[in-house]
């Protein structure tokens, strides 16, 4: 282990201890570590974007590209300049042009990909157990549960007022029960996600503890 490696291991060890100090509540060590991480990450992102996006994508084509590339570059440059008007409230409306372009194009891309890559495949997957060609009891049960979960989860997100009066219609009662069932499915989904978060966090904790113990062990063993 050379000095550079030791320095960075020591620096990593100190920062790790500072972050672990949050066990005793919010303290300056934790804040210093978080501020340092945020600052370094922001600086890194700025450098990364400047050197990997602005220069090769926006500036270099003007100097190194042909006439067509230069003319085309006028559009992103103009839109980029218009975004600076968002800094002032008086001229923020000017920057909306660039934002409109970004949001419109992004929405178009995402919607098409979501419809073809998510919605249709999911509908196919839900209805597949009920296919007459491969009708199976187990699939039918699984498919029914899946269908029930999907429908109830979608019905859970109904944007209407909950009627609590005694004189409820059948439709309102159906919606009420479907919401309850959807709550169960959504709860299971969120629980699985939470379990995955815990596992991921625990692995990170184990790795950091292993690093600390290893560093201390190596430091003590020389």
């Amino acid at each position: 282990m050379n000095q550079d490696q030791f320095f960075w291991l020591l620096f990593s060890f100190i920062l790790t201890i500072m972050v672990f100090s949050y066990i005793f509540g919010d303290n300056p060590l934790f804040r210093i570590a978080t501020y340092l991480f945020i600052g370094v990450a922001s600086a890194y992102v700025f450098v990364l974007i400047f050197y990997q996006v602005l220069i090769p994508k926006l500036i270099m084509p003007i100097f190194t590209g042909d006439t067509t590339q230069r003319i085309i570059q006028i559009i992103p440059i103009t839109l980029s300049i218009l975004l600076f008007f968002k800094l002032s409230k008086r001229t923020s409306s000017v920057g909306n042009i660039s934002l409109a372009f970004l949001v419109g194009s992004g929405s178009a891309v995402i919607l098409t990909s979501a419809f073809s890559g998510t919605l249709l495949p999911m509908i196919d997957m839900i209805t597949e157990p009920f296919s007459l060609n491969s009708l199976n009891f187990q699939k039918l049960i699984g498919g029914s549960i899946l269908l029930l979960g999907a429908i109830s989860s979608l019905l859970y997100f109904q944007f209407s007022t909950i009627i609590t009066s005694d004189n409820q219609s059948i439709f309102s009662r159906f919606m009420h029960y479907s919401k309850t069932v959807g709550t169960v499915f959504i709860g299971i989904t969120l629980g699985s996600i939470f379990a995955g978060v815990i596992i991921s966090s625990m692995l990170a904790l184990i790795e950091r503890l292993n690093f600390i113990i290893t560093f201390i062990y190596n430091l003590m063993s020389g």
């Binding site: 066990i23 005793f24 509540g25 990450a41 890194y44 992102v45 990364l48 974007i49 050197y51 990997q52 996006v53 220069i55 090769p56 994508k57 270099m60 970004l102 194009s105 992004g106 891309v109 995402i110 098409t112 990909s113 979501a114 073809s116 890559g117 998510t118 495949p121 999911m122 196919d124 997957m125 989904t189 699985s192 996600i193 379990a195 995955g196 978060v197 815990i198 596992i199 991921s200 625990m202 692995l203 990170a204 904790l205 184990i206 790795e207 950091r208 503890l209 292993n210 113990i213």
Partner: protein
Amino acid sequence: MTDKITCPQCKTENNFSSIKCVNCGFNFQINSVDSGSEPDWLALLRDSNNEDQSTESNLPDTNENFFDLNGRSDDEVPDWLNRIRDIKQFDEDFKKIESGKTEELHPLTSTDNSDLVNSLRDEDQHLDENSIDWIASLRDIQKPVDEEQLLNSEKDDESHDEEISNLPPEMDEIKKDWQIEFPISLELENDENVTPAEEFPDWLSNITSKSKNDENLNDLEIPNWLTPNQEVPIDRANTPIEPFNLPEWLSKTNFLVDEEPKESSELERSDETENLPDWINDINQNKEKKTLDESPSDEESEGSVEATFDSVLLFNKLDMSPESKIGDEFKLDEFDSELNELEQKINALERDQPEEPAFILDESELKSLSVKPFIGIDESEDWFDNIQLPTTSDDLIEVDPHHHKVKPKIEEADKHVLPFKFDNVPDWLENIDFDYNEIEPLQSMEEEKISDSSDVDNIEKGKLPEWLKAIRPIEVVSPDISRLKSQKIIEKSGPLAGLQDVLTSESITKTYSPPPAYSVTIDVTDKQKSHVRILEEIISPVVQFNKSKKKSKTILHRMEFILIPAFLLLIITYSLFVDHTNLKFPEILPAEAVRFHNLATGYLNRNQSPSHVLVVFETEASSYPEINLISVGFFENLFLNNHWVTSIATNPNGVLVSERILRDSYLNVPSYNFEERNTNLGYLPGYGIGIQAFLSNPKTTSPGIDLNLNIWEKPPLSEINTINDFDMIVLVTDNSENAKLWIEQINLLVPDSDLLLISSAKASPLLQPYLQTNQIDGMLSGIIGGLAFNLLSQSEMNNIGRYWAILQLGAIVFVFYILAGGVISIFKKALTSDNIEKNK
């Protein structure tokens, strides 16, 4: 019809032989006298005047010229004279009835026209006598009227007329001035001299003249306080009747005043002058002094008459023509000075005597009175309170209407109904309580004057007799009004200086009072107070409960905040030092992991030449340990097979994470030419648009880390033109959303390419549907995926085995925490519900 006679008075039928009406006592003989020979009223007057033949020669010339000038025949009997005659007769009968006498009345006869004039004079006198009589009878006057005194008073009256005719030259001069100033009014006055009204008794002429022309200036229109000085000569008042025994309207007539005895009138006058305001006395004294100075040889009576007339005419003259020439004796400046004095004295009187009763008599007068007085000495002050005295001589004209302010009220009342008609007795006389001893409180009026002003409130106003109420001036009834008027501001500067009750030029802002201070206190009722108490009782326990709950929650939270991670750290730390060589790994591996392993090893290794693998990193730095643990076996396998690895990241931190993971894998495979076969395309901006653009045209979209080097022209990427040129796409992600974008775009744009997914444990649940729909060919999710790949590839299990063991122990701890937290929350809810029920 012949044996009945109808009474002209009350329309009652009586016997033809009856002399008087049974009902009203009307004397039928008056009407039954032959009108062709001689008017009965004339005969009546002659009879009545036979007793006093000596007075005929003393009649004034005006009376003698009356019928001549007027041209009336003797046959015509005026209605007023008939009425007077009737009243006289009725009063006599009434008096006789009251006194118990049953003797009949003597028929009246008359002889000639001269007797008529005498009878008129006598009529006046009799009328006066009668009027006094019936008033005295109504008020139980103990002193009957002496006819001799009346005769004496008649003589005095005649002498008074003579004195008037012998006015001093000053009065003539004033009259001349008056003629110059008011010729029309003088003509009217001259016309009145020939009207029958001049022949009427003084009181009647006063009334008739008032009714005819109010605008005509007359001596009788002089205010009450001036009337005695003017109308009552000292030597003419011989009648024992005191003017204070009469009503106000009677006292202002001449016939009553004329009958006052001289001595008594002198006393009265002296008393009046004593009780009159000083300024009036000053005026009278000045006039008398002037008169005496000019004619010292004249008699005292003449001097008094001159003084009175002089004062009256002077007032009239000044009122109407202040700028006219008055004479050498009377200067305008002197009068102005007098007026100033008057004003000061009036103001002093107003300050000293804010409220004076309408009738105040001297003690001597009160003692001499046995009936209710009608004229108070201070009466002039009452009416004078309402007078706005002019401050300049120009305003003297305005004073004149106020001088007549009181009198027209009486005149208007007497204009249509004569007071001597028995049937038309005023209401206030009909309702008189004869037994009412009203003089007694008046006798103590002097004491009331001395007493404090607060005692005035103790006077019961309701005990005033109705006749007094009826004749009271408005100012007495509502003294506050007159007081308010007198308090009006007099201009002190400017063109309107000296005037009263004008639009003031003073700054109104000075008169403003400060704004009222309003209290901010709230009127709270008892009910509202009780509600406030209940509300406090409701709120206060809840607040205390919340505070205790917060304290306990804070302590528990701190304990949880320290104990849970400390216990977890203790367990994990202990696990790190435990030997995990004998660990039991799961026998059933996830299917997606098996598919992943099959594609990664079998598909890639089927070709003899190295394949091109695109690795997309969508990870944060925090996910590095997990992602590195999961993917390390896969990258070692790639490096061992010497495949071309190209990495790209849509997350700025993903560039660093990818570099670190690849380099860590490279450490385990040193034979791999990492610098040559590994290409890092760096950060791909634009999110979904960038992904779509990169998948559409990777060469033009993806940047190069080294700007000076065109990486797409180097050997690993020189063969790549589209995304389909990559043999396999491996998506390493810890973010399900970004992974979805890649999956959707790859399936949309590059549906034939193989897509493998390495995801963290937290992202795998949301990516399972894409695995179920075969959009993902294989997936390593979480540590179990990495463990499965290592088990299938039979690679070393050093770190991943340890971590797997520690993670299992840690997972048990977390399960314990979750269960403990669930149980605690259930108990907390139960305790909370119990507390709420207890509070309720």
